[in-house]
Symmetry: C2
Subunit: 400 residues, 2 copies
């Protein structure tokens, strides 16, 4: 077996499976899954789309497509990205199996085993297996309410000379924050002249709760000095459905050309069938109204959870006030450990993801992620109550 | 950039794109694509499936699924594989993005850069970018009408001590052959005690033309001594549609567990949406009748092409008589080069894939692949006529 195969432990996967099993138990109140609520999927819109689909498109959907993507989707996706202010004409665009595969392909192009990747702490949990796949060395930079701490970021760039900087500035998973415009400018300033590619992951940017916050979601890719090589990734997962497994990579042409060759060795092309559906979803003009519905629904869920936290959390527990996305990031009092808390809470009927899962260096466990995207509205407060009671029990234990 | 990125050339990809463009020109007679004919896709069956799909399944289709596969599909797929005599209970099973991704995952587990992989010559053209992705060293073993030449295979195993042996025994792409039962037994005998994993790729086994040949398609995985580690891959591409991007890997549990962890770093899961459809296709009992239709259609196309070749090919051109699958493998007379022939034929309106594309060592170019799966029946003879005329022109040039 390879170095990779020897380095990974099958237990990792069974732990994830256990968590998924717990989360899919209908009696369990789950704040753990970073997945949309099934009741919010555009099922009716898709029924309508399929009814109207011409025979030719149906046949296309069954067939192989070009590696960079189904040409009509590349066209409609380009129009969508252009409308977000992105420099589509000056870059290459490829469709990927979720933005996760875009992260995979970019890492394949830039990161040899043992090379450093600088990420955020906490970091998107799905990106960690990708970096592990390539046996990258991870260095995390702590996030504050406005983005990565600048002095830490500068030190990490200088000490590690990373091959890649991975940032998720918009409604961060799990930290729930959005970078301020000033912080984004400062990050770009730090990157100038260093030649370090930035992987800008924008899976949640469309899910702002308040129209007034929309300007915060302007991608760095849209405003950056073109001398900074930015690989911008996005996804249909949060704006259509993750089961479609569709995302994209917009990046310098020399990078996307290499990514395309790498993709030939990964899956040859993404599902043409779901690309046909995504194309019809964009072209049919369904997205704006659907996004409006999602923004309202997630904002309401977030409010319900925040209200419950305010009412029920013991002193010393801290959390952010999300302006969009799926996540609340909870900081526990100093003596409390998230893994110990999860054990008690799971037995009492509520689960979440422990902070350590999001630490690229696998250490810090004083935080936890609460997802409000998936839990039915009328069970959110009950789940928060279970958490509060579990905290009280854990604090009692700790005192003894 | 990484060693991989520096080693691949963007021109490779543009060459493939040029070929696809030529093949998609409606005036071109294309024998190049290894793709099903769009008129043969089960469009009506899928319309019926979608109409009957319960809301819950539709919602499932939008959602993330477990990395190894959508549980109902793992169940229906297991039943299907069991019916083919495969040892499902003693192995792990995961759903992949086409069998190409299964090849990717197995290679990730066994092959470090510079390690040897032994393949057939000619070799499935889609597997070559996968092995290139992992910077494997490729050694080809020539095929005869019954399978790999045994003495060459033995020498290759001894000289290379490969980490993986990759074989596609059933209606080989591009060689068009099916291994004889004796040759399969001899290959397994050769492998005994060596500990070299066999990657057995079975994308076309269902597409035999004559029921009497069905026993030839019994997988080695079904009959092998369990001490030989066989990773068996298959695909929905030829029995449902490649655009679904669904295949599978049935292999020793320690291997599939590692593949599952690797898949977390590739795409997290395959499209749940198309997995829901594939599951309904299997459960609905559509497959047997659909396969019957395909077998008859491809047998007819193969006969039309073979008849045309017999009538039109100049002396010295040789080809096999396929018992199934999509491909005829044509051997040119000694002085004739496939790439030179393609140039003339493409200008005259017919394209194919040159033999060199299938040589894992990238040298031999005295053969070419004709695919009869995609070309409309009434254009096959015209295309063969263009080939014959192009050969005559090339022979004339060569004489001058």
């Amino acid at each position: 077996m390879t170095r990779f195969a020897r380095s990974v432990d099958a237990l990792q996967s069974s732990a994830v499976r256990e968590l998924m099993k717990a989360a899919s138990n209908p009696d369990m109140i789950s704040f753990s899954g970073g997945m949309p609520n099934p009741g919010l999927f555009p099922v009716e819109e898709l029924d309508e789309i399929i009814t109207k689909l011409p025979l030719r498109s149906k046949q296309d959907g069954f067939q192989y497509g070009p590696t960079p993507g189904y040409p009509p989707l590349l066209e409609s996706l380009s129009a969508y990205l252009r409308s977000k202010g992105l420099p589509v004409e000056d870059n290459g665009l490829i469709v990927t199996a979720g933005s996760l595969q875009a992260i995979h392909l970019v890492t394949k192009v830039f990161v040899d085993p043992g090379d450093a990747v600088v990420t955020e702490t906490p970091c998107f949990v799905g990106a960690i297996p990708v970096f592990r796949y390539f046996q990258a060395r991870l260095r995390g930079v702590p996030l504050d309410a406005d983005g990565p701490a600048l002095s830490d970021l500068e030190r990490a760039l200088e000490e590690e000379k990373p091959r890649l900087l991975y940032l998720t500035p918009y409604f961060h998973n799990p930290a729930g924050i959005v970078y301020s415009a000033e912080r984004k400018a400062a990050v770009m300033n730090l990157l100038k002249g260093r030649g370090i590619p930035l992987l800008e992951d924008d899976a949640y940017g469309e899910l702002y709760f308040d129209e007034a916050d929309r300007p915060l979601t302007l991608p760095m890719k849209a405003s950056a000095d073109p001398s900074i090589p930015i690989c911008y990734t996005g996804s249909f997962s949060k704006i259509f459905g993750p089961g479609m497994r569709l995302g994209w990579l917009l990046g310098p042409r020399d990078v996307t050309a290499k990514c395309e060759l790498a993709k030939q060795g990964v899956d040859a092309c993404s599902s043409t069938y779901t690309q046909v559906l995504a194309d019809a979803f964009l072209r049919g003009g369904y997205l704006p109204a659907y996004l409006e519905r999602l923004r309202q629904a997630y904002a309401r869920r977030c409010r319900i959870m925040t209200d419950a936290l305010k009412a029920l959390m013991p002193e010393g527990v801290k959390w952010n006030a999300p302006k969009g996305g799926f996540y609340l990031w909870l900081r526990l009092p100093p003596a409390m450990n998230a893994t110990a808390l999860l054990e008690i809470a799971a037995a009492a009927g509520a689960v979440f993801v422990v902070g350590r899962a999001f630490d690229p260096e696998g250490r810090r466990d004083d935080c936890l992620r609460l997802s409000f995207s998936h839990t039915p509205e009328d069970r959110i407060a009950d789940g928060v109550r279970i958490l509060a009671e579990s905290m009280a029990r854990l604090a009692g234990k700790n005192r003894r």
